[in-house]
């Protein structure tokens, strides 16, 4: 069948079998950033955004792409498609935070991160872990990936941070992460698994807020200076970042 869709902003017209897997079609179209790990929905290496929604291209068929807007990791950033690629802040943060080792999971991870930040611009560490929970990494141990996603969140929120402070991520999360020290805190900070029901059993009318609500970073962190891009450094004291609503 003849298919037309948008791939990373570029209109694509291609003939494909309707039941060809999207992951195979995309790789044939040179979107080699789309990886196949498991082929069964478990690993997230084949992640793409379909009309902005994080989906798995190993469980999508070519026919389902008709008329859709697809974004792969290569399409997250900016720049001329034929010229030099400008990495997305998430991608830059992955590089700067050391969140990439072999790199096989990275395109999928950055897609998951982009989808997460679009929905929740100021995730806690636990929320990041949940957001990327459909993506496996065999190399990094995830800590630096979580660091990177949070660093990117700060940058995307256009937070200005005092260079000497270098603590925006910590400040942002201090309260919410206090309970998250791995591993015991993994559930301690998670209301819905400690007292299942408590988080969601909000009275009628309280639906869209409650345990799931987030205050945008921009409303929570304000400080002077310029963005450092690096947030892994330990608190060097004199931090001027304020995390008003982080509790």
């Amino acid at each position: 069948m003849k298919l037309s869709f948008t791939l990373n902003g570029r209109a694509v017209q291609v003939a494909a079998a309707p039941d060809q897997r999207a992951v195979d079609l995309l790789r044939e179209l040179d979107a080699l950033d789309v990886k196949e790990g498991c082929g069964t929905g478990e690993c997230g290496a084949c992640s793409v955004l379909v009309d902005g929604v994080h989906k798995l291209s190993c469980l999508l068929l070519a026919a389902q792409l008709q008329g859709r807007e697809l974004t792969t990791a290569a399409g997250l950033g900016g720049g001329d498609p034929h010229g030099p690629h400008v990495p997305h802040p998430i991608q830059r943060a992955f590089a700067e935070q050391g969140a990439v080792q072999c790199g096989f999971c990275t395109p999928g991870m950055t897609i998951a991160a982009a989808a997460l930040l679009a929905e929740n611009p100021a995730p806690t560490r636990l929320e990041v872990r949940r957001g990327i929970s459909g993506n496996l990494c065999r190399c990094t141990g995830y800590v630096k990936i979580v660091d990177a996603v949070r660093a990117a969140a700060l940058e995307l929120a256009d937070v200005s941070v005092d260079v000497s402070a270098d603590v925006p991520a910590e400040a942002l999360s201090a309260a919410s992460d206090a309970a998250l020290a791995y591993p015991a805190g993994e559930t301690a900070g998670d209301a819905s698994s400690v007292v299942p029901g408590a988080a969601l059993a909000a009275p009628a009318g309280d639906a869209p807020g409650g345990a799931f609500s987030v205050t945008p970073v921009s409303a929570r962190v304000r400080a002077k200076g310029r963005t450092t891009g690096s947030t892994t450094g330990s608190a060097t004291g004199g931090g001027k970042a304020k995390a008003g609503g982080a509790a």
């Binding site: 929905g41 478990e42 997230g44 389902q64 957001g131 029901g197 969601l200 639906a207």
Partner: protein
């Protein structure tokens, strides 16, 4: 396989009437299964639900008006239930339902199950209808919807019908769907505000975990915190979702105390008949099936 995209229910029924047609919803069960099978066994045509707007709605309705089958619906409803029903379109994804204010406010037991189903991309793709029609004993939507007394709305070219969910789920991978029939919606009676709702799943890990044991519980508390009614439904401890009327009965007239719950848990362990499999032993499942009840003391 050809893939077709009907845009309305009449188009859907026409497509399903063709030989070798098979519904494709999110594909998270079907495409995994088809890939594991020889190609010869594949359906001739996959009929996608993704462009049928009528299957993607969530709405609250007055309970009385839309029901012709009072006999089926009546007994399933908890006394004290408001006469309201939430209708969930079968092709809603788990993520759509989880984000929906009606689901979160009225049906927290379902929202809690959806929150731990698969992973974000699986929730963005997988649908309620696919979860029910797969009829896995580990399907996370099944225990909450059974405890809630949900009904399914089925339809084909030759008409529509309603069934209690309990009568729809016949066994592992088996449902009451007739050839050419589709699951259109799930109707869920809204529990009253005096009903506590709770879901918990125990898996091998936090995300992407097939349930080793799960429990959905609805407990209606009367005056002084005395239990007036309990509805308990366990996943992954038998060929279909398992209920334990003895434990439910034992809780009535008691408080949600550890003592009362421990006694009910002993009844559960004595009666449940789980199996050993790659994920857990029968003994472990039996123990945990009882233990999950104790969590209700925290409600």
């Amino acid at each position: 396989m050809n893939v077709v995209f009907p845009r309305s229910l009449p188009e859907l029924f026409a497509a399903l009437a063709e030989p070798g047609a098979r519904i494709l919803a999110g594909g998270t069960d079907l495409l995994v299964r088809l890939r594991a099978q020889p190609e010869a066994a594949a359906p001739a045509t996959l009929v996608s639900l993704e462009r049928i707007a009528a299957l993607h709605n969530v709405a609250e309705e007055a309970g009385g008006q839309s029901h012709s089958l009072d006999g089926v619906f009546g007994p399933a409803r908890l006394p004290g239930t408001l006469h309201r029903v939430v209708r969930l379109g079968a092709a809603c994804t788990h993520a759509e339902l989880l984000a929906h204010p009606l689901v979160r406010a009225r049906l927290p037991v379902l929202a809690q199950a959806l929150a731990v189903l698969g992973s974000p991309p699986v929730r963005n793709m997988g649908t309620l209808g696919g979860n029910l029609c797969t009829a896995s004993p580990a399907g996370d939507c099944l225990p909450p919807l059974l405890a809630l007394g949900a009904e399914v709305e089925l339809a084909s070219a030759s008409g529509a019908r309603r069934l209690a969910l309990a009568d729809f789920l016949l066994g592992p991978g088996r449902t009451a769907l007739a050839p050419g029939e589709a699951l259109i919606a799930v109707h869920v009676p809204v529990p009253g505000v005096d009903v506590r709702q709770h879901f918990e799943k125990v898996g091998r890990r936090e995300a992407l975990a097939v349930a080793v044991v799960s429990l959905a519980a609805l407990v209606r508390l009367g005056h002084g915190g005395i239990i007036a009614e309990a509805r308990l439904a366990w996943g992954s401890v038998g060929p279909t979702v398992w209920r334990c009327p003895e434990a439910e009965a034992a809780l009535i007239g008691r408080r949600l105390s550890l003592t009362a719950l421990s006694e009910a848990a002993a009844l559960v362990r004595a009666r449940v008949r789980p199996i050993d499999d790659v994920r857990a032993s029968a003994d472990y499942r039996r123990e945990v099936a009882g233990n999950l009840l104790l969590r209700l003391a925290e409600l």
